[in-house]
């Protein structure tokens, strides 16, 4: 699978680019000089030990975390620009949380149509129609009128993915989407994500699911202590990790 290179070069401008990105929490250097790009249609898996800055990194893309230095561009827009209409911008960036964060007072359909109706001013009827289609796509058409509290974790996360898709984002960011799930529910969520990847969605995904990385990722980014240490195809990364830290990380994963 050599298309990682092709995707970045063929489609010209990258979907997401980090240039010299730094972030500090007080004294703590959470992100240290990140330089990387995500091409259009590319699937990036970000991995690394806990506290390495993976989640922080993807949260900078829709400015849930502000950065102190550097530049981030998303689909040609300067994320850090003070002139950015942040709400409009965020509505175009799909984001899926570890803990789903569905709105418990709204039904599944209402969760999905909230942003299209509120942010884009879409008519409720057409938003509902699309919400039902999206639910079908994530295999939950039968749960349209259920409330999040009635769903399993895996189902909730699939609804959360549908909610992100409702705004037709050019890319979706996943922040450990399966880490809060019971093991038997991980598969159904990964299934939906694989489907998205096959359909050509640009994805940046923080995850510990190395089989998912092997199967779907175009490139794996390995982070440690806020530094992006490696960026390689999954074949190369898993067979032949270059840094000693990545070797140790993979060994630790395997020994489980």
């Amino acid at each position: 699978m050599n298309n990682a290179m092709d995707k970045t070069t063929n489609n010209g401008a990258p979907m997401i680019s980090f240039r010299g990105v730094h972030k500090w929490y007080g004294e703590y250097h959470a992100l240290n000089d990140i330089n990387a790009t995500v091409g259009k249609g590319e699937v990036i898996v970000v991995c690394g030990p806990s506290g390495s800055g993976k989640s922080t990194l993807i949260r900078t893309v829709n400015r849930l975390e502000p950065i102190q230095k550097g530049h981030i561009e998303f689909d040609g827009q300067d994320v850090c620009s003070p002139n950015l209409d942040i709400n409009k911008f965020r509505s175009h960036v799909g984001f899926v949380f570890q803990s789903f964060n569905l709105f418990p007072h709204l039904s599944v359909t209402e969760n999905i149509e909230l942003a299209p109706v509120t942010v884009l001013g879409e008519k409720r009827n057409s938003a509902r129609e699309r919400a039902l289609k999206l639910l079908e796509r994530v295999g939950l058409a039968s749960k349209a009128s259920a409330y999040p509290g009635q769903l399993s974790g895996g189902q909730q996360q699939r609804v959360a993915i549908a909610r992100a898709l409702a705004m037709n984002p050019p890319a979706i960011l996943f922040d450990e989407p399966t880490s809060a799930l019971d093991p038997e529910m991980v598969g159904e969520v990964l299934q939906v994500m694989k489907q998205l990847a096959r359909e050509g969605m640009t994805m940046m995904c923080v995850t510990h699911e190395m089989n998912f990385a092997r199967e779907v990722a175009d490139r794996v980014w390995f982070m440690d202590h806020g530094v992006l240490i490696e960026s390689d195809t999954p074949e190369e990364f898993f067979r032949n990790p270059k840094s000693e830290r990545a070797q140790r990380f993979l060994n630790d994963l395997r020994s489980h």
Binding site: N62, L64, N87, K88, F89, R90, S91, H92, V93, F95, F97, S99, N101, L102, F103, P104, H105, S107, L114, A115, T118, V119, S145, A146, Y147, G149, Q150, R163, A164, M167
Partner: protein
């Protein structure tokens, strides 16, 4: 016991509605009117105060915080005196006792409701705010479409107990001659002269029964909400359908 029954037989109209329809309405009707209308008017004010307190803008949060602190730091009866003497001065004309009491209760209750709503908002997981902002909702949209409905729903039991305390608070209207339940009871006592114990036991029982019933309702709702939060299907389905009906 016979005495109490006799008192009820002779005075139940006075206790329920005062001299109405031959005179001004009073008794339990006024007590319930004051507490119910009071809480209904205080609620939106309380929400506004809470939102101001939580606002990132100091010109909103500081005055709101000051109001809440001052109101909560003063006994209600003093507040009643303030309104009683100051409002007619401001308006330049006398004000009915019932209006004075209502205004006082609305201000007083709104400060307490503000704290309830604020606690409800702050008790929500931060992930709710993040998720709302991540799909592009503005601060106001996040507040009104995501946070406030959840906070109020979760706080329904606390709001009901505030209602209970406002029912008891209306008894203080007695000091400015508001024609409410306690006032009616004291009129009865003044007529009978010899049975204060029986009259005031009766008065206490009426307050107790109403407040106990409402407290039970609050506890019942509290259990339902706890069940729903835990995601128990039966409870949540019932609540869900209730909420759906409310939405329609």
């Amino acid at each position: 016991m016979n005495d109490i029954i006799n008192i009820i037989q002779d005075n139940w109209e006075l206790l329920l509605v005062g001299q109405y329809p031959h005179g001004p309405i009073g008794g339990l009707a006024v007590t319930l009117f004051l507490s119910l209308v009071g809480i209904v008017l205080a609620f939106p004010l309380g929400v506004v105060l809470a939102l101001c307190r939580l606002s990132p803008f100091r010109f909103l949060s500081w005055p709101a915080t000051a109001i809440v602190y001052v109101v909560r730091g003063v006994p209600l009866i003093m507040f009643i005196f303030w309104t009683y003497f100051i409002v007619p001065q401001i308006l330049g004309r006398p004000v009915a006792g019932i209006t004075t009491m209502l205004v006082t209760l609305v201000i007083y209750q709104s400060a307490y409701l503000a704290e309830i709503v604020r606690a409800g908002m702050q008790g929500l997981p931060f992930g709710q705010t993040e998720a709302a902002r991540a799909i592009g909702l503005s601060y106001m949209q996040t507040t009104f479409k995501v946070l406030l409905p959840q906070a109020i729903y979760n706080m329904v039991p606390a709001i009901i107990s505030q209602f209970v305390s406002s029912i008891k608070d209306t008894a203080l209207g007695y000091v400015i001659s508001v024609n409410e339940l306690t006032f009616a009871a004291s009129q009865i006592n003044a007529n009978l002269l010899t049975m204060p114990f029986q009259v005031y036991i009766l008065l206490a029982s009426i307050y107790f029964v109403i407040c106990a019933l409402l407290t039970q309702l609050a506890r019942y709702l509290e259990r339902r909400i706890a069940l729903r939060r835990a995601g128990k299907a039966g409870a949540s389905a019932a609540v869900a359908s209730a909420m759906q009906q409310a939405n329609v």
